[in-house]
Amino acid sequence: MTGSREASMIEGDWQARAQQRKRRLYIIIAILFGMGLFSGFLVGFFEKDDSGLMAQGSIPPEIAIITTVIFGIAITFGAVRFHRSSDELERRNMLYAAAMAGNVALAGYPTWFILWKGGLVSEPDALALFGTAYLVHITAYFWYKFR
């Protein structure tokens, strides 16, 4: 006979707790998604029509500051809330994925830099490195989650 509080939990309790856990995560994801969407909208709406993606000064400085602040808040508080709401397996998956992405960025830049110094490739591209690290992060996360 088990005597712990968890063991004596009645049917409705565990279902309510599972629902609560899911709801918490969905709310955090929805808020982060909303903030990302709003940031993207701000940049897209105020960007000069004739400028390219990488053009400097293509959005007003105040929009750049507002977007950066939104991004900073979303990343900081979103990460903390997500960390508190997720279980240890989820945190492990995120940690492994972040470590792999970080290693790609840390090893990728010097490798590219040396090859560039040797005249073999074009100059290191920050956006390409960021995109690759991000892709590795997502791929690793889903691989650990669904393997």
């Binding site: 063991a7 565990w14 599972a18 856990r21 279980d87």
Partner: protein
């Protein structure tokens, strides 16, 4: 690490989701532990042991047999 979690859960007729909720982890975490893809932290291992009124080594087997590992 091998464990008896699936057997203990089946004895109580609990689903993975139910056991997860009782331990405050996700169903996926229970599945990963049962299939040996994830070894729980020490605090979670203690919670599991308490829930099943057992000692940790009665549930988890690290392969240690009298001085030698498997």
């Amino acid at each position: 690490m091998k464990n008896r979690l699936k057997v203990l859960r089946a004895e109580r007729d609990w689903s993975q989701a139910e056991l997860g909720a009782r331990l405050d982890v996700s169903r996926q975490a229970i599945n990963a532990i049962e299939t040996g893809k994830y070894d729980p932290s020490l605090p979670l291992a203690f919670r599991i042991a308490r829930l099943f009124d057992s000692r940790i080594e009665e549930i988890f087997d690290d392969g240690f047999k009298g001085g030698q590992h498997d």
